[in-house]
């Protein structure tokens, strides 16, 4: 056990793997937020008037909103005037036309992160829309997607190229005044991704965006909008890593998904923002609003998330099941170690007839981490034949951590069948002993047990993400049991 303990200490002391800062000149707006900053962002982005007005309305509304405090997390006060709301890597010319023109330092960064951007991207069959701080610098596989009629581009480009689509869909799932952080995002978002899958098209490849926070003191306010038109299908991958920081950084993204008749959107996230050090210093505040709207009949939206990073995670990827027979799914693994806190879950709003939803949430708490599942299943009176099953399991590692469950069920239709199950357990000494006496090291045994615990979620992930997720979990957990 003594050597085991040493290993544990070494592993616990292991520094954040992705903790480095790329030194690039940034075009950064000084910290602070007022109307002029929003006008400046809008101006720099050459946005049409409707978008500027939309931002200003959101900002005006945000000013009237109190900061929410209902989540089961402790947050140091956020000074919104100390954040710089715009930061763009300096452009040499009007922007890179191909990968060769991209700043080599940027490419190096992606290299360290292991993003398949170069040849690897093609081999992996992944189109990457890499977001470096707030401005997208490279997008690959455009042509192939274009041939299929798929639009996959940085948000700022969509503003120029497809303003009519944006005006039609932007903010229709998450209205600008939806909540405090969504309003802030609506006012100051700088970039993100826009995806449009036309009628009947099955997107030929998995779409992926790697988010990255770089310049110090910049919050990142991404906005993602995915529209799947009738009968289309798309799988979207989102992953993030962030360099080491001592200051808390705010990440308040908004993701909107729209699925029309018979369309399917699969949205997968591996979130590995910097969680802060073992004393809880630093780390990202990940306050994200994600919502999908199954507008059409037989539409399907599936959220899969693996949350291992961030000092505080506060997000509820949700599905509005408006169309008859539409399906919502939520698969989540949330891990908190050291002083990390997570309050995450989902909302399933059943409006249409015969709508179905599945929730599988796996919370793992280690160290002094606090992990809360908070979810809402709402069956409206018109949702004849609605069906929900929720499975919510917590795994506790160590006596100082916490696991909490706050499921809300509001059922207004007698034909609905709604089930919620939750269990709480720890890795038992018997399980560990069994593995140890078969020659499996303690660390491997813990990983094995945890991976088994999360199996139902991992198998929902696309292949390359599943591997990454398992690795992430091992790295994040090593040393949690000793």
């Amino acid at each position: 056990m003594a050597t085991g303990q040493q290993d544990v200490e070494q592993l616990v002391a292991r520094k954040y793997r992705h903790g480095f800062v790329t030194d690039i000149e940034s075009d950064t707006v000084p910290p602070g937020l007022d109307e002029s900053v929003i006008r400046l962002i809008s101006h720099k982005k050459k946005e049409p008037e409707f978008l500027l007005q939309w931002r200003l309305r959101a900002f005006e509304h945000w000013l009237t909103m109190p900061e929410p405090d209902w989540a089961h997390v402790r947050i140091a006060p956020i000074d919104y005037q100390a954040i710089s709301y715009y930061s763009a890597p300096k452009k040499k010319t009007d922007g890179p036309k191909s990968l060769d023109e991209v700043d080599p330092k940027l490419l190096e960064t992606y290299d360290k992160l292991g993003i398949p951007l170069h040849e690897r991207a093609r081999l992996a069959g992944v189109a990457v829309d890499a977001v470096f701080d707030s401005v997208s610098v490279a997008t690959t596989f455009k042509q192939k997607l274009k041939d299929a009629g798929v639009i996959f581009c940085p948000f700022s480009e969509a503003v120029q190229e497809y303003p009519e689509l944006l005006e039609k869909y932007l903010g229709t799932v998450v209205p600008p005044g939806d909540n405090f952080f969504a309003a802030l995002n609506s006012a100051v978002f700088t970039d993100g991704s826009f995806v449009y899958i036309p009628k009947g098209v099955r997107c030929p490849m998995e779409l992926s965006t790697y988010f990255r926070i770089n310049a110090a003191n910049t919050g990142q306010f991404e906005r993602t909008l995915i529209v799947a038109d009738e009968g289309s299908h798309v799988s979207y991958l989102e992953g993030c890593t962030a360099p080491m920081r001592d200051e808390n950084q705010l990440h308040a993204a908004v993701v909107e998904l729209i699925a029309e008749d018979d369309a399917e959107i699969k949205y997968s996230t591996v979130q590995n923002w910097y969680p802060g050090d073992e004393n809880g210093v630093g780390g990202i505040y990940n306050f994200v609003t994600k919502r999908g709207d199954c507008r059409g009949r037989n539409a399907k939206i599936s959220w899969t998330q693996v949350e291992t990073g961030s000092a505080i995670t506060w997000k509820y990827p949700s599905c509005i099941l408006r169309g008859d027979n539409s399906v919502g799914e939520f698969y989540s693994v949330a891990l908190t170690n050291n002083l990390q806190q997570a309050d995450t879950g989902t909302k399933m709003i059943h409006i249409g007839r015969n709508t179905r939803s599945t929730i599988v949430s796996k919370g793992i708490s280690a160290g002094r981490g606090q992990n809360a599942y908070r979810g809402l299943v709402k069956i409206l009176p018109g949702a004849e034949g609605a069906r929900n099953h929720t499975q919510c399991d917590s795994l506790l590692m160590g006596s100082d951590c916490g696991a909490h469950t706050f499921p809300y069920m509001e059922i207004g239709n007698p034909t609905a069948v709604v089930e919620h199950e939750a269990t709480t357990s720890k890795i038992s000494d018997e399980q560990l002993f069994y593995c140890r006496q078969r020659g499996i090291s303690e660390e491997d045994a813990v990983n094995m047990i945890v991976n088994g615990f999360c199996k139902e979620v991992f198998r929902e992930l696309p292949m390359e993400f599943a591997v990454e997720a398992q690795n992430l979990l091992s790295v994040s957990l090593e040393g949690a049991v000793g």
Binding site: W70, P381, S394, L396, M397, G398, S399, D400, C401, G402, A403, H404, T405, F406, P407, Y408, M409, E410, I411, G412, N413, P414, T415, A416, V417, V418, E419, H420, E421, A422, T423, T424, S425, K426
Partner: protein
């Protein structure tokens, strides 16, 4: 303006006149006056809850806040008959003792007002110390306003052979009536007792702030029944708070079928190892009734256990709320907390809002909870149909069987039968079900 208002300072929000009047009328020794003032101040600071309060998210009290409540009228203290149950009883009308049947002097049961007047140490020590005024604002208000109630003070080793029955009736005249029944139970070491709180039908509109506090000493065993069958226009806001010491047990049976709005906050603090609480609850609501069951179990120390079973049957435009919470505090290793809530919706206009919560700060625990809402088992229905039972009756039978899972846990047979009849009477095809049961 009463002294209580003055004590709160000028900035506290104004309380309705009827509360000020009732508070001014509430008397007692200095220590009680102090607690009354604190209670009123706590309530004034919190105010009436609104839907914005998380604990009242699904229960709207506008119907209560729109009304004012007075002292009520005199009425005959009739003991509602429960077949086969013959035991010592106290009957209260509008919160004041009206009749006493066969309560022997020796067993430590006495009216609360008399006990306070006699400066009974149990009152001074425990009254208004168990129900947390911060969490239960209506318990705080009750402390400020109550006139009478019951003190059950069982010396160590006492075993009450017979159940003790407490009946509370509201009698309103032309204006709605306020009643604040207050019960304090101190169970000495290894004592045993069965206490029945029976909130009868009464007449007219009423607001009941029914607060019961239980302090269970080492090894004590309290079986507590709560039958709430208030008038259809009654508002019932109850609190039952218990503190359990080493190896003591509280078993709570809670049936809620009456009232326009009925709520019970049931709190158990498992303060020493070996303490156990069982909470069995059933709510059967119809028409425009609203039933709200909140429970909270605090596992504060190692080796405590809790078991919650709540079921509900809803018809008409009724609505029910269940919010059960188990909190496992840091260091409370060996906790076993089980919780289950199941509901049947019988009509398209009924709604159930359920929220089974767990807050766990220790790792060596066994905790689980489950909640379901659904329909009757199609196979069971088919089985009955195949044996010649018509569909409507088959449904009613199965619905009753669903509810009876909770009632079957009541060991006191006459009371169980009474409870079953109450439930059957609220289901469709009541006469047909009676043929089978």
């Amino acid at each position: 303006m009463s002294t209580a208002t003055a004590a709160r300072g000028a900035h506290a929000p104004a309380l309705p006149d009827w509360i000020e009047h009732a508070a001014a009328a509430a008397a007692g020794p200095a220590w009680l006056q102090e607690r009354r003032r604190a209670g009123l101040a706590a309530f004034a600071a919190a105010g009436f809850p609104t839907r914005r309060d998380e604990a009242w998210k699904y229960t709207d009290l506008k119907l209560v806040t729109r009304r004012s409540f007075g002292a009520g009228i005199a009425a005959a203290p009739e003991l509602p008959a429960i077949e086969g149950l013959d035991c010592p009883s106290l009957v209260f009308v509008n919160g004041r003792l009206a009749a006493s049947h066969g309560v022997p002097q020796a067993v430590g049961v006495q009216p609360l007002a008399a006990a306070i007047a006699a400066d009974d140490p149990a009152c001074r020590e425990l009254l208004a110390t168990i129900a947390d005024p911060a969490r239960h604002r209506f318990a705080a208000l009750s402390t400020a306003l109550f006139a009478d109630g019951v003190l059950v003070d069982l010396p160590a080793g006492t075993v009450l052979e017979q159940p003790l029955r407490l009946v509370f009736l509201a009698a309103a005249g032309d204006t709605p009536v306020l009643e604040c029944p207050r019960v304090l139970i101190r169970a000495g070491a290894n004592s045993r007792a069965t206490v029945i709180e029976h909130y009868g039908a009464g007449t007219g509109e009423s607001l009941s702030l029914a607060v019961t506090e239980v302090a269970a000493g080492p090894g004590a065993m309290i079986e507590h029944y709560r039958l709430q069958e208030s008038a259809p226009e009654a508002f019932h806001l109850g609190v039952l708070a218990a503190r359990l010491e080493r190896d003591s047990t509280l078993v709570s049976h809670n049936l809620s079928v009456g009232g326009r709005i009925a709520r019970l906050d049931l709190d158990a603090a498992l303060a020493e190892p070996g303490a156990h609480v069982t909470m069995n609850g059933l709510y059967v609501v119809r028409e425009r009734q609203h039933a709200d069951s909140h429970s909270r179990v605090d596992h504060a120390v190692p080796r405590t256990s809790s078991d919650q079973l709540y079921r509900g049957v809803l018809s008409g435009k009724s609505r029910a709320v269940f919010n059960g919470k188990a909190v496992v505090h840091p260091g409370a290793a060996g906790t076993d907390a089980q919780q289950s809530n199941a509901n049947l919706l019988l009509s398209p206009d009924a709604e159930i809002d359920t929220k089974p919560e767990l807050e766990i700060y220790a790792d060596d625990v066994k905790c689980s909870h489950g909640a379901t809402t659904g329909q009757l088992d199609a196979n069971a229905l088919f089985y009955l149909r195949s044996r010649g039972v018509d569909e409507s009756t088959a449904r009613s039978l199965l619905t009753f069987a669903f509810a009876d899972v909770v009632l079957a846990r009541m060991p006191l047979a006459p009371l169980r039968r009474h409870a079953e009849q109450l439930v059957v009477g609220r289901l469709p095809d009541a006469d047909r079900i009676r043929e089978f049961t």
